[in-house]
Symmetry: D4
Subunit: 229 residues, 8 copies
C-alpha cells in the first residue's frame, strides 16, 4: 500500500486572494504537531489555525507556544498576521453565548489584515441595544452578525444598514433550536433583502466572505477607474 | 356493517368555555351542506365555520347563503355571533400575505364576542412600522402576531409588550421557509420570554387561546376579589 | 480589537412586565461567578438563574451559596422573590420524568410572585388520574402542562378546562420521541382548541406566558372598568 | 428487450393466511381493466381492490361493475367475500375525517370474513365520547383506531382496553400534522403499552394484522389443547 | 409549593390486562431505590423493571439484589413472574447486535407468563438462516422480529408466516441508519401485509402487544364457543 | 444583457465513455423542439432523451416523430443506438409499479449497446419469485434492482448474487414511504455487502454505472493480460 | 373590525440603499392590479416586480403593459431602471434549467443600475466549461453562481476566483435533490472559503447582496481615502 | 429460555464471492474475544475485522495480537489475506480527514486480494490537485472516492474518468454537514452520470462493490468468450 503525501494548496492566494487555514478539528494529533512545528520556523509564511482546542495548545512545548498568538475564546492561533489592508468590519452578536463564533470571525479578519469593531449582546428582545449602536456599525465597511435561537437579529440588522451583511447562525439554544438549524433556516428566510448566510458556527467562512468583499476597496480601483457610468 | 352517527360535543362550552367550530377542509360536500342547513334554521345556536372555500359557499342556495355572514379573506362564516364580552385583541402581521391567517383569528374572536384591532404589514425589515403603532397595540388586552418567513416579528413584539402574546407562523415563503416550518421553529426558539406558539396557519387556535385568556378579565372577578395584594 | 461590554436590559420590566433571567447553560464559568457575586450583594434587585447545574452551584463559596434559594430538581436559584401578585397556576405533568421541566415553570412563577399547585403523574394511560383532580385544577387561574412521548395529556387537558392552557413538550422518551420533537409536534397539532405551545423543555417560557396572562387579573381592572358590554 | 410477465403470489394464502389484494393506486389503467375483467368471471377466486378511485370504477362497463361490490368512501371493491370466520373488530376513529381510512380497514375485514362494529368521532377533546362506548368496544375481540392530528386517541384507547390494539395514523391535518407524520410519531411514542402501529392511512394493513390475530381464535385450538400450563 | 405524590395505576391490570412496569431510564436514583425496596418486600405484587443499567443494579445492597431476577443483556429485573398462561412467542432477530432489544421482549413475555423460543441472527443476507427455522417459528402463536439497518427481515418474515407479527426496529447501524430511523421507516413501509410496528428499541412494547394478542387464546373461549365455523 | 450560448460537452465520451443525454424534465418547450430537430437530421450522432412526457412527444410533427424510437413506459427516445458491446444486465424489480424506472435503466443500456433481461415483480413478500429466477439473473454480468416501499429486495438480492449490484429506490408508496425516501435509506443501510445506490427513480444513473462496469469486460483486456495471478 | 392600510417602507433606500420590490407570488390579484396601476403613472418612482407570472401580466390592459419592461424567463418587470452605477456582476450557472433563477438575479442587478455578464451551463461534469471562461468571470467585480442538484459548481467556483461569491441553490432536480434542499446544504457546507449562500431560488436576494457589495466601489471612496495602510 | 447459537454464513463466498467480515462496533467484548481466538488458530480461514477500536485491540494478549495484521487508522485487522486477484483500485479523498474511511476501503480491497493506489487530499477548492493525478487514477480499473462536507469531488471525478466510480460520503464537517448527511445527499444528486453511492463512512461497502466489479475481469472470461459483438 503506497501512501501519497498531503497536497498543500500553495497556489491559493494567487487564485482566490486568501491563504489556506488549518482547520484543527478532527485532524490527528501527530499531524497538528507537525504543522505547528513547520509554521513555527522563523521563515514560515503567516498561517491561521482554527477550531484549536485550548487543551491541545496547552500541551505543546512552551518554546513552540511562544511563537503563536493564541486566543482561547475563538480557539484560533497565528504565527504572524498578514499586512494591514484598508477596510473595517463590524462584528455584531445577539448574545454573549455567540462570542466564540463572533470572535472566530474577528480573529480571521485581523489575521487577514483588517480592522474590527465589536457590538455584542444586541439581541432584539431589547431593540434599544442595536438601535443605540447602529450609527457606529454603519461607519464600518461590512457587517458580520452572529446569532442563535431565532436569529431575528439578522433580519433587523438587514433593515438598518446598507453595508454588505454576512450572517452566521450559531448553535446556541436547545430543543427546536437544534444545534443552530433554526437560526440557519431563519437567516436564509430573512424578510430583509441581501442577507448572505453561512454554515452554523462558521465564523471563519463569514470572515473570508467579508475579506473577499473588502478587497473591492482596493483591487478594483487599481484596475479600472471608478469613473465608469 | 352498522355505521354509528356523529358525536356532537354539545357539552363543550360548559367544560372549556368555547363551542365547537366546523373545520370545513376535508369534510365531504354532503356533510357540509347538511351542517349549513341545520345551522341555518332560526333557532340554531351560533356556529362558526372555518377553512370554508369561497367556491363552495358560492354554490349554496341563495336563501341559505343569506343566513350566514361570510368573509372570503378569512374563509369563515357564522350564522350569529356570541354575546359581546369585555376584552380587546391586537392583531399584528408581518406582511399582507399573512392576511388570511390573521383574519381567521380576528373573525374567530369577533364571533366569540371580543373586540379586535388590526396592525398589519409591520415586518421588521422596517422597524418604524411596529414602533409607530406599539402604543396602540399595548392598549389592547392580548396580542396575536402572524408572520411567515423568519417570523422575526414575534421576537421583536415579545420585547415590546407586556401583554399575553400568541404567535401564529404562516405558510408564507418558499424554499427553506418550507410551508411555514421555519417560521414555526423560529417562533418556538424566540429569544423573547413568554411567546406562545400555534400550528402553522392556525389563526383559529390562537384566537381560542386568546379567548381563554380574555375570560380571566371576568371569570376571575366572579370568584375572588381582585383586591388581592 | 476593542471589546464592548454586556448590554443589560434593565428597561425590560417597564416594557414587558418581566425582568431578565440568567440562562446559565453555555455561559462561561467566569461570567456566572461574576453574576452570582453581583446579585449576592444586599441591594441587588431580585434575579432568577435557570439551567443552573447543581455541580456548579455546589462549588460556589458557602457564603455566596447562602444568599441564594437553590432548587436542584428545577436547576433554578434566586436571591429574592418579587412581591406576591394575585393569580394561581396549576402545574400538571404526565409523568415523574417531566418533573424538572414542570418545576422550572413552577419556580419561575413563584419567583415572579404567583401561587402554584402541583398535579404530577397524570398521564392518560390511566385517565382516572387526571379526572380525579380536574376540579382542583380548574380552581386555578391558568394551567401549565408538561408531557413527553406522545404528549396526549395536552389534548385531553384542553378538553377538560376553560382556563388558559400552556403546554410544554419535554425531552422524555427515546427513538421516535427524538428529544421531545414528537411531543412538540403532537401538542402543536392538538385536536383541542387553544392549546399554546413552547419549545421543548422550556418550562421558563411557559411560566412567562402564564405570568403575562395572570397580569390581566390586575392590570386590566386598573385601566378600564370591567363593566364593558 | 424481452419482458417477463407478472408473478402472481397464488401461494400466499397457504403461507400467510391472507390472499393478495390489488392496490390500485399507481397501476396503469390497462392493467386495472385487465384485472377487473379477470376477476369478474364466474369462477374467479374472491379478490379485494383497494385505493380504487370512484371515477375509475364509474367508467367501467355496467356489466362489469355489477359483478363488484364497490364502496366509494373506502375506495374498495370485491367480487365476493371469503367465508365468515369467528371474530369481531371494533373500528374507532377520532373524527369523521378519518372515515375513509377506518372504512378501508372495515371493508378489508368484512371481505376476509370478520364482523365489524363502528365507533366513529370519539376524539379526546371530549372524553365522554370514548368513555360512553368503551364497554361496547371491549366486547369485541380486537380494536382498530384511526386518528390524525395528535392521534391522542390511540394512547387513551390503550389505557381503556385489554384487547389487541392496532393504530392507524391518518393524513388528516395541516402544517405540523404534515400528512400524518405527527400522528404516526405520536402513536409510536404512545405512553400506553402494546399499541401496534401502521403506515399513515394504511387501513388495509391494520386489518390484515387484525386478521392475523383473529385467526388465533380458531387455528390455535385446532392444533394443541389450551390446557397448556 | 405543595408537591403531590406519585399516582400509581393499580387499576391497570383490570382495565388492560397488563400491570405497570417500571421504566428505569431517566428516573432519579432515589426513586429507583425506593421502588426496589418496596417491591423487595415478601408480599409485594410481581413487578418488572426495564432499562435497568447493570451498574445501578450492582450497587444495590446484596440482600436486595437477591430478591430479584436480573438479566444484564436485556437490562430487566423482576421479583416474581406472573402465573403461566397458554401461548408461545417466537423471537426472531436479524443479527446479534439486536440481542438486547429481542431479550427485553422475551423477558417481558416470560414475566407475563408466556413461553418463548429464540431464533437469532437470521438476517436476509443469507436467506437460508430464516428458511431453515421457519417451521419452528410457525409452530409458535405469535412472532416478534427485531432488526436494525434496513430491517428487511420484517418483510421477508411477513411473507413466511400467518401468525401475528410484531416488528421492532433497533438502533443498530450508523450513518443513514440514524439510530434506527431507517429500520422504523422500512418496517412501516413493508411490502408484506399486516406487519405491526413499534418504536425503535421498544422490545417491551412489542411484548405487550403480543400479550394482548395471546390473551385471545383464553379470554375469548370463556365468552363464546370456539366451535364457530 | 448579453446571453452566452449552451455549452455542449462533446468531449464527454472521450473522458468518461458515455455521451450526454438530454434530461427533458424542466427544459423549456422551445429548447426541446430545437433539440429534437437537431438530432433528427440524418448525420446527427446517436442521442438519448430521458424523462420525455408522452404528451409532449405526441405533439411533435409526425415526420420528426418517425425519426425516433420512443417508449412511453420509460419515457425515453433515441434516434439511433450506439454499437453493440459485450455485456448483459439483469433488470429486477419488486413490483409492476417500479416498471417505469426499471425500463428507463433498460432503455439506457440498450441505447448504449448492451443486452438486457427482465425479472419483474420479484418482491420479497413471496420469496419464491426471486428464488425461481436467481440462476437466470446470475447468468448476466451485472444486476440492477428497482424497488420502492421498504426496498427489501435489494438486500435479499445482495445475498444471492456475486455480480455487481446497482440498486435504484423508486418513489412507489405513500405515507412514510415519502416519495422513495424510505426505499433510498433502506438500500443505503443494506445488511448485504456491496450494494451500490442511486437517487430515487434514477434508472438512467444506475444504467450509466452498469455501463461503466461492463466496459471492464473489454477495456481491461485490451490493456493488460488477464493472466495476472 | 377596523382594517389598517398597507405600510410602505418609503424610507428603505435611505436606510439600506435598496428600494422595496414587489414580490408578486401569493399576493391577491386585486392588490397586484392596484400596484401596477400606481407604478404605471408617469411620476412614479422606479419599481421592480418579481415572481410575476407571465399569464397574469398578459391579462393586464395593453396600455398598462406598455409601461413595463417585462421578462418572462426571470418573471420580472420594471417601469424604469435606477441610474447606472459602477460595478459588473458575473452570472454563472451549472445548467440551463437554472436560467430563471440566474436571470432573476441579473434583472435585479440591471434594475439597480449594474452591468451583468452571463456564463451559463458551466456544470462541473465537464470542467472545461468553467475553466474556459474563468478569466472573463474574474474580470467582473462580483460573482453570482446558481446551481441545483449537488451544487458542486459553487465550491469549484470558490477555488477559482478572488471576487465576492454569492451562491444561489436552485430547485432543479428530483428525489433527494428535494426542491433544492441538497443544493442549499451543499453550498453551505462548501469546502471553499467565503461562499455566501441564499435561500433556494432566491436570485433576487443574491442580487441585493451583490448590490450591497458593489456600493463599496463608490460609497467608501467618498468617505475616506483609499490610501489607508 | 432457550438461546439459539449464532448462525455463521459459511455459504456466503459461494453465493456472492465475498466472505463475511466481522463488524466490531456494538458487539459485546466477550463475543469479540471469542472471535479473535477462533480466527487466531493456525487453520482458520482468512477473516477481516472492521470498526475495531485500537484500545480494544491493544488489550488483547500479545500472543493473539501477533497473529493479526492491525491498522489503527482504518481500524481493521486480518489474520491473513485472500489470494491475489487481478485488478487495481484508485482510492481518492477530498481531504486528510477522510483518511480513516478511505483506508477502510483500501484495507478491505487488499484483504480481498486486490491492488490499491492512493490519491489523497484532492479537494476541489484547488482543482490542480485532482487534475495533476487524473491520468494515474485512470490507469486503475475502478475508482473509490471519499469526501465529506459538500462532496463536490465525487461529481468532478465523475466527469474525469470512465472507470466504475464508487463514492463514499464521510462524516467530516459540522453544522449543516450533519454527520455526513449533506455529503451523502450531494453524491446521490450528482450532476455526473453513473456515480454509485454508499452509506456514510461505509468504506467497507464501497470496497465490496469494487470487488464485485473487479471480478468481471476474470469471472466473465471463464464463462463466455469476450469475442461477443
Amino acid at each position: 500500500m503506497s501512501h501519497s503525501t498531503v497536497r498543500f494548496d500553495l497556489d491559493r492566494p494567487r487564485r482566490i486572494g486568501l491563504p489556506e487555514a488549518v482547520f484543527c478539528a478532527g485532524k490527528p494529533r501527530s499531524v497538528l504537531i507537525e504543522l505547528f512545528e513547520r509554521f513555527g520556523s522563523p521563515d514560515a509564511e503567516p498561517i491561521l489555525f482554527t477550531r484549536l482546542e485550548p487543551g491541545f495548545f496547552a500541551e505543546l512545548p512552551e518554546d513552540l507556544r511562544k511563537k503563536y498568538n493564541f486566543d482561547p475564546l475563538s480557539r484560533t492561533a497565528w504565527n504572524a498576521k498578514l499586512p494591514a489592508r484598508p477596510g473595517k468590519a463590524a462584528l455584531v452578536s445577539a448574545g454573549n453565548a455567540d462570542a466564540s463564533v463572533l470572535h472566530e470571525a474577528a480573529r480571521t479578519l485581523e489575521y487577514l489584515g483588517y480592522e474590527t469593531a465589536f457590538f455584542e449582546d444586541c439581541g432584539v428582545a431589547g431593540l434599544w441595544r442595536i438601535q443605540s449602536v447602529i450609527d457606529e456599525i454603519n461607519a464600518c465597511d461590512v457587517v458580520i452578525v452572529a446569532a442563535g435561537l431565532d436569529a431575528a437579529l439578522a433580519s433587523v440588522m438587514g433593515g438598518l444598514t446598507e453595508k454588505p451583511l454576512f450572517a452566521v447562525p450559531t448553535s446556541v439554544g436547545y430543543g427546536i433550536a437544534e444545534g443552530g438549524m433554526t437560526a440557519l433556516r431563519s437567516m436564509l428566510a430573512s424578510c430583509a433583502p441581501g442577507v448572505a448566510v453561512f454554515n452554523i458556527d462558521n465564523g471563519y467562512g463569514a470572515a473570508c466572505a467579508a475579506a473577499r468583499t473588502l478587497r473591492l476597496l482596493t483591487t478594483h480601483s487599481s484596475k479600472e477607474a471608478i469613473t465608469q457610468p
